[in-house]
């Protein structure tokens, strides 16, 4: 097996939040001991609730933030320091697609120029070649080349997201991190954008990390899925298997919440309570206050991520290596 395109080992990101200048800062662990890797041309999904640290993980693997601990390796080399020239050069090989395209675009610059901007920054091609490339990119994402002179506010949400995608793929990146790329869009547009991302990925062999809370989309597009809860990975495995046979109680609840056409939502698992505050993490397994199967051990001891079946890892005390208790293997 070849080396993965990107691998992250034991990433930790801690934010300090201060109430006043002289109070002791409270530490918030947004991401705790997250390891993941992705091969060329594959898609990895990261799912979880709001505040589970999935976006922070995305930013960490792109090197947009320095991790507090752990390290990221891209194509065999360690991630260079934030905003160094090497770091800037690496941007043409890895790109981010934003959740809110209107915020990510400069509202004073016509979209054609914005799509051209990465080419200009990385000095790719002559001005004429760039213009051609912009037209080509716009066609590739389903925009008319004559829309190049329009401003972001003159486009619809779906079109704006296409502009963001066109800009992200302009330099031919090897890795694309999509941070909830469709959650701000209408359902009818979501499918178009997801299909666009998948087509582009297949065509250009881009590795993709797809961050979303929308399980239908993740199931549709991803090869592997990482489920996060409060900054930790609770389950990882191939997408189909995780959705057809979730092991972790949290994943089970998530999967059961996806409606299946033609069936009523009878055996839906409703999670009680809000996700706990990352600033005051519960002891032991962070999920235990909401878990249906929580035992005394869950309250005191943090479960490790263990391989329980082929290519599947779960962090749960109820699931020992290579065995799934009948009580929760539904």
């Amino acid at each position: 097996m070849s080396m993965p395109l990107l691998s992250a080992r034991h990433l930790v990101k801690t934010y300090a939040s201060r109430r006043g200048a002289f109070t002791k800062p409270t530490l918030v662990k947004a991401v705790e001991d997250v390891s993941l890797s992705i091969d060329k041309g594959r898609t990895l999904g990261i799912v979880g609730e709001s505040g589970s640290g999935k976006s922070t993980t995305g930013r960490l693997v792109l090197g947009l933030e320095d991790p507090t601990g752990g390290r990221v390796t891209f194509d065999g080399a360690a991630m260079p320091g934030l905003k160094t020239p090497e770091w800037r050069g690496l941007r043409r090989r890895m790109q981010l697609v934003y959740q809110d395209p209107l915020a990510a675009l400069d509202r004073r610059i016509p979209i054609g120029e914005q799509i051209e901007e990465p080419l200009e920054i990385h000095e790719i091609g002559t001005p004429e070649e760039r213009k051609e490339r912009v037209a080509e990119l716009m066609r590739a994402v389903g925009l008319r080349p004559d829309q190049a002179s329009q401003y972001p506010h003159e486009l619809s949400g779906g079109q704006r997201q296409r502009v963001v995608i066109a800009r992200a793929i302009a330099c031919g990146p090897e890795l694309l991190v999509c941070d909830e790329p469709v959650s701000a869009l209408d359902v009818s547009i979501q499918a178009q954008v997801v299909n666009l991302l998948r087509d582009l990925q297949e065509e250009h062999g881009i590795a993709m990390i797809f961050i979303s809370h929308d399980l239908k989309v993740v199931r549709n597009i991803c090869d592997r899925v990482v489920v996060m809860y409060l900054g930790r990975v609770v389950e990882e495995g191939p997408s189909d298997e995780i959705f057809s046979k979730p092991f972790h109680p949290y994943t089970q609840a998530l999967v059961s919440s996806v409606p299946v056409p033609g069936t009523s939502l009878t055996d839906r698992i409703i999670l009680e309570g809000e996700p706990p505050n990352p600033a005051s993490r519960p002891s032991g397994c962070a999920f235990h206050p909401r878990c249906r199967f929580a035992t005394a051990r869950c309250r005191t001891e943090n479960p490790q991520l263990l391989t329980v079946a082929a290519e599947r890892e779960v962090a749960c005390h109820l699931l020992g290596p290579a065995q799934v208790p009948a009580s929760i293997a539904s």
Binding site: L62, L64, K83, R88, G89, L90, R91, R92, Q95, L96, Y98, A103, A104, L105, D106, R107, R108, I109, E117, P118, I121, H122, Y151, H153, V164, R167
Partner: protein, 289 residues
């Protein structure tokens, strides 16, 4: 005033060239007034009927409308129109230069603070607080008392007026743009800081800065007037609008035109700048065009 009206009818077709809609009437008037002021400032040497220091002792304190002195004369028989023309030149020079110095300096410091954060930001903010807390007039008095007086020094001193507003605006907007918005996205594309700040952030915050400039400009004119009024600004025999108001005050009851003429010029110029600034802010924003 007939001058302005004539000028505005001339300026209308020129300013609407290439644009579909004409700016509002008041803005056209503002542009016309400013154009007139600039024209006067540039051609002061040729258009003033007398030297601004020339005295006509037989016609002291003569009323406006006098065929020899259109706007009358002051207590030394100096022609008010000539002095007004020279004052417009000096005051505009000070106000424009100082506004630009203050905007450039403040915006740069604000960007530095936003870019480096940490200690640099603390220092810039401390300086801004210091500047805001200290009455500028007192600071100016101290500086002028120590370093004497020259036009250059006065311009540079005025250039320090109001920079802290630009610094705060630029810093705040740049930080927010970097944190989540378009600027963060461009950084992520691999852009260098100078590209991010000057190609993206500056055009986006320009409207706010321009509005701030249109607020600073009148204040600088008034500040220069106050300093001149106190005898620390432009020194006689040089003259400025504030200087004229200051010295004309003594003859307010006897010869009000000495003071009223420059006062009207100050008022119309600051009003024009405000109107234009307000209109420009809307004009520069493509989202509400």
């Amino acid at each position: 005033m007939t001058d302005t009206v004539l000028h505005s009818t001339e300026a209308t077709p020129a300013s609407s060239k290439g644009k579909r809609r004409l700016p509002p009437f008041l803005v056209v008037l503002g542009f016309a007034w400013l154009a007139l002021m600039v024209a006067i400032a540039l051609s002061a040497d040729w258009i003033r009927p007398y030297n601004f220091t020339a005295m006509d002792l037989q016609n002291r304190l003569s009323l406006p409308g006098n065929p020899a002195h259109l706007l009358g004369t002051d207590e030394l028989g100096r022609d008010v129109l000539s002095r007004l023309i020279e004052s417009i030149r000096v005051s505009l020079l000070i106000a424009f230069s100082a506004t630009i110095i203050s905007a450039v300096f403040g915006t740069l410091l604000g960007f530095l603070a936003a870019h480096f954060r940490g200690i640099v930001e603390q220092i810039v903010l401390m300086l801004a607080d210091f500047q805001a807390a200290l009455p500028f007039l007192i600071l100016s008095l101290a500086v002028l008392a120590f370093f004497g007086n020259s036009l250059m020094l006065l311009i540079c001193l005025m250039g320090f007026f109001g920079w802290e507003r630009y610094a705060r605006i630029a810093r705040g907007l740049a930080i927010s743009a970097n944190a989540q918005g378009y600027a963060g996205a461009v950084v992520q594309l691999g852009a260098t800081p100078s590209r991010v700040y000057f190609k993206h952030i500056l055009p986006n915050i320009a409207s706010t800065l321009i509005v701030s400039m249109t607020l600073t400009f009148p204040e600088i004119i008034l500040l220069e007037s106050s300093l001149s009024f106190l005898g620390l600004g432009v020194q006689p025999p040089m003259t400025s609008l504030g200087n004229m108001v200051g010295y004309g005050r003594e003859y307010l009851t006897l010869a009000p035109w000495i003071m009223l003429m420059p006062a009207f010029v100050i008022m119309f110029t600051t009003l024009s700048i405000s109107l234009i600034g307000d209109w420009l802010r809307d004009k520069l924003d493509p989202t509400i065009r």
